[in-house]
Each structure stands twice: as structure tokens, then as C-alpha cells.
């Protein structure tokens, strides 16, 4: 992911706080938590507030890996993260709990904002914006997992891949799938076959929609069906492909 770069050079004073950076760094986590709670309360009541204490708590949690600071941030910002997820519209259809999304979003955020990358987030607003993106990503992954499940017949899902795999496995699997696609490509004779196979299996489209998208290439839906039947017949007789699918 790319990160927003600091828009101004680091100064003695915190970019967002009226408190000196040195002073913030010396505060105990307990004091910071107390100040954060008060500043946050001012925010909720529309009063002038200082986000510097919260930013420092994020720094303690993400750079110094302070568990107490992380615990406060998780507890304090969980309702906010849940509100972002709930208002997304996709929430109710995913069948997941709000808690699932909150935990996943924070986990993603924790992994992405390493001590080295923290400098790219000079304000509380930039940190929260990134947390918001992480919440969005976990919603998208969940929606994708669901559309995946709807797209595949049950028997292929059971012994097939789970949409939620580890990043390393995911990369390996992607390589394997790309090799598979390259092989399929060698079995196709022309542009019409490539369009039908790509749209049917990569994009998950039905013949009717494929024709609507490419009326220049096909005379009618019937021709899309003919092409699809020919390709599927050829692929189903292909021993090498059967071997690859059995893996």
C-alpha cells in the first residue's frame, strides 16, 4: 500500500498538538490515556480538543509496541470502527458480526503500520483515515468471500481453497492459478473462444451478458453458447487439464 507522506518537516512541537513532543514522550501511558479520554470527550461535545495525546498513544502502541497503549486504542476506537463498517451497506449481507470486522480491521492496521512506516502518519486524522481504509478492506474481503461461495458449487468449495488464506499461501496459489490460465490459453483457438472463457470463468458472466458486452464479436447468444460448448467439450477431453484440476 502507499502511504500519505508527511506534508511538513518534523518540528519540536507536535504537528497536531499544543503540547511539546518531548513532553508527550515523557508522559506515562496511564496519563496519556487519561488525557485522551478527556480530549475525546471534548471532541464529542463539540469543544476545542487536542488530538496530540491520541497520536502519541498510537505511537506508543505501533512504534514501541506498548500493549497497554494498544489495548486503550482498540477499546476506545472500536465503536468508531464498527460504525464505519455498519454504515457501509454491505455489512448486513455479509453475515459476519460487527466484532469480527473490528478485530480484523485492527489486526490489518497493526500489521501494516510498522514502526518504520509510522512516520508516514503525522496526524491523528491520517492514522484514522488509514484505519478506515483497513476497515473497508476487511469488508471487501468478506463480500468477495461471499460472492466466491455463491459462484462455486458446494462440492468444489469443500475441497477447494478457502478465500481467507495466509498471504504466503495466497501468493503461491495465485502463481499456480496464473499457470493454469496460461495453459488454458494455449488450448483456445481464437478471440471468440478467449472472450467466452475469460468472461465465463474469470469474470463469472453468463452467455447472455457476454453477448451483450461483445455484440461485435458474436451474431447472437446462440453463438456464445456454441463457442462455450465447443471449448468445454475440448477441455473436458484434455488429459493434462484433468490432471491439473485433480491437484
Amino acid at each position: 500500500m502507499q502511504y500519505i507522506l508527511p506534508s511538513q518537516p518534523a518540528s519540536r512541537r507536535s504537528a497536531i498538538s499544543t503540547v511539546e513532543v518531548g513532553q508527550l514522550r515523557q508522559m506515562s501511558v496511564a496519563t496519556l490515556v487519561e488525557r485522551c479520554t478527556t480530549e475525546s470527550e471534548r471532541f464529542y461535545r463539540g469543544q476545542p480538543h487536542d488530538p496530540g495525546y491520541s497520536h502519541e498513544l498510537f505511537r506508543r502502541a505501533l512504534v514501541e509496541r506498548d500493549e497497554q497503549a494498544w489495548e486503550y486504542i482498540f477499546r476506545h476506537y472500536s465503536p468508531l470502527v464498527e460504525s464505519w463498517v455498519r454504515r457501509s451497506g454491505a455489512f448486513s449481507s455479509t453475515g459476519e458480526t460487527g466484532e469480527f470486522f473490528v478485530v480484523s480491521a485492527f489486526t490489518r492496521f497493526w500489521r501494516a503500520v510498522t514502526p518504520e512506516k509510522f512516520g508516514s502518519f503525522p496526524t491523528l486524522a491520517s492514522l484514522l483515515h488509514y484505519l478506515q481504509l483497513c476497515a473497508g478492506c476487511v469488508v471487501i474481503d468478506s463480500v468477495r468471500a461471499q460472492s466466491w461461495a455463491e459462484m462455486l458449487p458446494e462440492e468444489t468449495l469443500q475441497n477447494g481453497r478457502s478465500p481467507l488464506t495466509l498471504p504466503d499461501e495466497e501468493a503461491m496459489e495465485r502463481v499456480h492459478r496464473e499457470e493454469f490460465w496460461n495453459y488454458i490459453n494455449t488450448q483456445l483457438n481464437d478471440e471468440a473462444e478467449r472472450v467466452v472463457v475469460y468472461n465465463s470463468f474469470v469474470m463469472g458472466m453468463k452467455p447472455g451478458d457476454i453477448y451483450t458486452g461483445r455484440p461485435d464479436l458474436f451474431d447472437g447468444i446462440g453463438e456464445v453458447y456454441n463457442v462455450k460448448r465447443n471449448v468445454l467439450g475440448r477441455l473436458s477431453r484434455n488429459q493434462e487439464l484433468r490432471r491439473m484440476l485433480a491437484l
Binding site: 502507499q2 502511504y3 470527550e41 469543544q47 451497506g89 486524522a125 484514522l128 466466491w148 496464473e178 463469472g204
Partner: protein, 238 residues
């Protein structure tokens, strides 16, 4: 496809058997009513449909959304909007992929409102009423007496005590009658928050350095309970 002659579903029960295009249309959900009716009755033709469904499922399993950017890459597009050039390869893919367009729209809708820029609308205010208390022997510094307040069905008990050196005033309180979590207790003086603390699991809280003239506010998700009478209580100490 299908070399299962001799099995129970080897022959079509009601010839002519469905041709390959009809079976394919049925699997893709675009066949006529007559074709589905035939498949209901005929295990031979239904078996051919099942083989085709399985092959298509296997192909989709390998290929479905193979070239779609990850959610992280979509998020980077949104970040890039504000901080740098867009990845042309990903942008081109999105232009031709309705699924990614809808993913991106979903992501954009989540980040559309700045995360923490505008405070929520003003809270509905409920004033807690003091409740009569049982006669006491008079308070001492070591055993502060407790005052009771009520706001609807919620009950609040408060006690003040002196502490520390130099002497400060500490407010201890408990809110009962709600299962709500995420409640914050704040001392307010001249309309400004002086200090705040979250209520613990048992609904209890402690606020130190209570200034003269302060009122207590307990903020719940949709309203606040204000104990104005704390001012009168404080007069006894200041």
C-alpha cells in the same frame, strides 16, 4: 462427456434427450421451462448437467477474479488519489471489471466521510434528581456519605472525599440500571470538560481534583445525564 452407459442414469427417460446446448443453458440458468422440467424427470440428462456444472465450477475455482487487484491494492488507489500517481495497470483493470468497480465504490463509501472530523449532534440532556437519603451520623473524612440521584430508571450514587497532599477533592460514583457500556463520566465547569474517565465494568468511576462549581455529566451513546446538584454538594466542601 459421460461414458456411464449401463448405469441407472445411462439412458434418457423421455427421448429425445436434451442436446448439449440445452444442458449448458440449464447449468447457466438461462434454459427454457421445458428443459428444466425434463431435467427434473430424467436422471441421465441431469447427470450430464451435473458433470458440466462440476467442470465449470472447477474452472471458476481456478480462474474467478484471477486478475482482480487485492483489497489492499484498491485501497492504495484511493490513497493514491490524494498522495500520488495511480497504478495504470490496476486502473485499466478496474475500468473493465464491474466487480472491482463495485468493490471500489464500497471502499469509497466507507472512507467518504472523514473519520473523525465532525462531532455528533448535541446530546439529549436528562437532569438527574436528588433522592431523599436516610439520616446519617454525619460524614467523616474516612467514611464519606453517599448521595443518591435518579434519572428515569437509572440510579446514580455519588460520594466526595478529601485525598492527597495538598488536599484535593475526589468524586466516586456508580451508575446502575443500564447494561450499556461505553459510558464516560466527565466533570464540566463553565461548560467545558475538565476531566473524564470511562465507567468500569461495574458502572463505577473516580474523578480527582473536583473544582468548586463543577457539574457531573455521564455520556451514554445517545444522551447525557447531568448531575447539577453536585454543585450544592461541593459547597459543603469549599
Amino acid at each position: 462427456m459421460g461414458d456411464d452407459e449401463g448405469s441407472t442414469d445411462g439412458a434418457c427417460c423421455c427421448p429425445p434427450e436434451l442436446d448439449e446446448l440445452d444442458v449448458l443453458a440449464a447449468v447457466d440458468g438461462e434454459a427454457s421451462v421445458a428443459v428444466y422440467a425434463h431435467l427434473e424427470q430424467c436422471s441421465a440428462c441431469a447427470s450430464r448437467a451435473q458433470q458440466l456444472r462440476t467442470l465449470q465450477g472447477q474452472l471458476r475455482q481456478q480462474l474467478f477474479r484471477l486478475f482482480c487487484p487485492s483489497s489492499d491494492e484498491l485501497a492504495a488507489c484511493i490513497q493514491a488519489d490524494t498522495s500520488g500517481p495511480l497504478n495504470a495497470h490496476i486502473t485499466n483493470h478496474i475500468l473493465g471489471c464491474p466487480s472491482c468497480q463495485s468493490d471500489l465504490a464500497l471502499l469509497a463509501s466507507i472512507v467518504a466521510r472523514p473519520p473523525h472530523s465532525t462531532p455528533p449532534p448535541p446530546l439529549h440532556r436528562v437532569i438527574a434528581q436528588p433522592q431523599p437519603r436516610a439520616p446519617t451520623k454525619g460524614h467523616t473524612w474516612s467514611q464519606p456519605d453517599t448521595r443518591l440521584y435518579r434519572a428515569g430508571t437509572l440510579r446514580i450514587s455519588l460520594s466526595l472525599e478529601r485525598y492527597g497532599n495538598p488536599l484535593g477533592l475526589r468524586l466516586r460514583g456508580t451508575l446502575r440500571g443500564t447494561r450499556q457500556r461505553a459510558i464516560t463520566a466527565s466533570l464540566i465547569s463553565s461548560g467545558r470538560v475538565i476531566s473524564s474517565t470511562p465507567l468500569d465494568f461495574y458502572g463505577s468511576f473516580t474523578l480527582n481534583d473536583v473544582p468548586n462549581g463543577a457539574v457531573l455529566s455521564l455520556r451514554l451513546p445517545t444522551y447525557e445525564i447531568v448531575v447539577e446538584a453536585l454543585q450544592h454538594l461541593l459547597h459543603e466542601y469549599y
